[in-house]
């Protein structure tokens, strides 16, 4: 029925830590440590997790904006980790990214027109007038107008800039969009505008999203399936309702219970985690979560749990379910 558009297999990204007398490598930050998942065509896969757990690194590694240390990334059945720079460059028209910070992701010295027409030019649309037409079209698609084209980013509000960013990403009709926290910098009232827009676009252009966020309610709202990351690892991945109604991993449970809900009527059983997220430079042995897990067992300290499909379409990495 559904075909996978993106398959990530054993993705790892370690950043070197340098130091010592000779500035040699003295360690690694295991920003992403063996993450695997598949994204189906037309699907929205949400990824949540706390700050620093490797969400962005995963997103960027998929696009090879950061070269992954290990692992395979298959896009439309092509292993992109093996492509040459030039092939990769060509492929980029099909895979795009939207960034979290609407202020930092637009070149402040370019007009919106230039920002949006650049990807068109790169991928072969050389006719100036046509580019102009396309820019106007794109602006309208994302809810702006043609007259915005001549403005500079600093003349827009955050929400509008994010729209520009989306227009740029859409310029070459990509198949896959990686959305790296596209709404977390926005105000609530604007956030809903952008979320709606993104949903519309998905429907209209049959897009596939990998939607990264740390706000669980946002992810829940927009995604079809959700992966939960903790310290560079995927700990749970399943359909969104399954995840919210029946979380398996203790971390997922804690995360869900920690979200404050704007509804005074909901009495929930709270599960407050102790301590902080450990550093990815020095992750705990075994299950990375065992230091904070209320249900930790001896085995958790030593053996890293497998990421298993314990139920239909429900993957969990936890010794409780082995």
């Amino acid at each position: 029925m559904q075909t996978p558009i993106l398959e990530v297999n054993g993705l790892k990204k370690y950043f070197d830590i340098r130091g010592g007398v000779f500035g040699r490598k003295v360690g690694e930050v295991k920003a992403v440590d063996d993450v695997s998942f598949t994204v189906m065509e037309g699907e929205i896969l949400g990824i949540v997790g706390e700050s620093g757990c490797g969400k962005s690194t995963t997103g960027k590694s998929i696009l090879r904006l950061i070269e992954p240390t290990e692992g395979k990334v298959k896009f439309q059945d092509k292993d992109i980790t093996e492509l040459s720079d030039e092939e990769m460059r060509q492929l980029r028209r099909n895979m795009q990214i939207i960034f979290q910070d609407p202020y930092a992701s637009l070149n402040p010295r370019h007009t919106v027109e230039k920002i949006i027409s650049e990807p068109l030019l790169i991928h072969g649309l050389t006719d100036k007038n046509e580019r102009k037409k396309r820019v106007t079209e794109l602006l309208e698609i994302v809810g702006l107008s043609g007259y915005h084209a001549s403005r500079y980013p600093h003349q827009f509000s955050g929400g509008q800039r994010q729209r520009v960013g989306i227009a740029r990403a859409l310029a070459n009709n990509p198949k896959l969009l990686i959305c790296d926290e596209p709404v977390s910098a926005l105000d609530v009232s604007v956030q809903s505008q952008i979320l709606n827009l993104m949903e519309e676009l998905r429907d209209e252009f049959n897009l596939t999203y990998v939607f990264i966020a740390h706000d669980l309610s946002v992810v829940k709202h927009i995604s079809d399936r959700i992966g939960v990351m903790y310290l560079g690892r995927m700990v749970e991945l399943t359909e969104k309702n399954k995840l919210y109604d029946n979380p398996k991993h203790p971390y997922t449970k804690a995360l869900l219970s920690a979200i404050p809900l704007p509804d005074p009527d909901i009495e929930k059983e709270r599960m407050i985690l102790e301590g902080d997220v450990p550093s990815p430079a020095n992750p705990p042995s075994g299950c990375a979560f065992h230091t904070r897990c209320p249900l930790a067992m001896e085995v958790c300290k030593e053996v890293r749990p497998q990421f298993n499909e314990i139920e239909d379409n429900h993957f969990v990495a936890c010794h409780l379910y082995e």
Binding site: K60, N107, R109, E118, P119, Q155, E200
Partner: protein, 310 residues
């Protein structure tokens, strides 16, 4: 689906802009670039305007030097040695009876030229090296950075002296020396700018669109490095003039009869008691020109690159 469309069109961004009383969205909003913005701010900065006036004054002085006084700058007139400022010689004469005002005016040419060429040279080579080091990184960065380190390990005037000692004293060589000592300043600035820009999200975005390195450099990184380079150029303009004057004063720069201000000071040095005006005019000129550039530089920095403030 229908509902959604409706809601979408109810987005006021397109709709009720005519009524808007808020600055955030308006069809009338003129697109204005960050440059224009900076320029507006600069014009409002009284210090910068003062600096601008000073520099324009000296530029005009340099341009119209031949028309300004009836004397050639190198006209030795031993009958009128060390004449105090008077209606005939507004700023007096020096020990060879040359009109100081004339020499100051021609000296403005030299100083501004030295500043211009030294800064241009430093800027071109510094930017080139800085971009290469910053963008390509690895061993080439190592190499270039070490060269910068070495050049910066010398107090600048001392390095200039060393260079002039090697290539011989003359105005041209002083200019070359000053350009060389300024290369690492630009180089480092550009390098760090490029490195920080390389991490900017919009650069990442450009790469994500499949942009080639060269294009990223030219279209994104360089234009965004321009502001600090302009600021630094203006400030360096001032220091280059000071350095040239110092070299001239030490007898390692311009030679007489070239009316370079530092060399004029060196010549006049013995006359501090006898004819203080021979020292005051070149000294004040140097100070004013450098002050002018510093004022503009400060203003530009505030306008273009508030983060660079230091």
């Amino acid at each position: 689906m229908n509902v959604e469309k409706k809601e979408k069109t109810s987005d006021p961004l397109e709709e009720n802009s005519s009524q808007s009383r808020y600055m955030n969205d308006d069809e009338d909003v003129k697109p204005f670039s960050p440059w224009k913005d900076a320029f507006k701010q600069l014009r409002r900065n009284r210090f910068a305007v003062a600096g601008f006036i000073i520099i324009v004054f000296f530029i005009l002085l340099g341009i119209f030097a031949p028309l300004l006084t009836p004397y050639p700058y190198d006209n030795v007139n031993l009958a009128d040695r060390l004449v105090a400022p008077s209606s005939e010689y507004w700023l007096g004469t020096d020990d060879a009876g040359r009109d100081i005002l004339t020499r100051i005016a021609y000296g403005a040419r030299i100083s501004l030229m030295v500043g211009f060429f030294a800064v241009t040279g430093a800027l071109v080579f510094g930017t080139l090296l800085g971009v290469i080091a910053g963008y390509y990184g690895r061993w080439i960065d190592m190499l270039i950075s070490r060269i910068f380190d070495i050049l910066l390990a010398f107090p600048s005037i001392l390095l200039a002296i060393a260079i002039v000692a090697i290539i011989g004293p003359s105005l041209e060589n002083a200019l070359i020396a000053i350009a060389i000592i300024n290369i690492p300043i630009f180089g480092r600035l550009v390098r760090s700018r490029v490195i920080s820009l390389r991490e900017e999200e919009y650069i990442m975005a450009a790469r994500a669109q499949g942009m080639k390195n060269g294009r990223i450099l030219i279209h994104h990184i360089l234009p965004n490095s321009v502001a600090p380079i302009i600021v630094q150029s203006t400030l360096s303009f001032g220091t280059a003039i000071l350095e040239a004057a110092a070299l001239g004063f030490l007898g390692l720069g311009a030679e007489p009869p070239d009316p370079e201000w530092g060399a004029m000071l060196a010549e006049a040095r013995g006359f501090i008691q006898l004819a203080p005006w021979t020292l005051i005019a070149p000294g004040v000129s140097i100070m004013l020109v450098v002050l002018g550039f510093n004022l503009i530089g400060d203003g530009l920095r505030d306008a273009l690159d508030p983060k660079m403030k230091n």
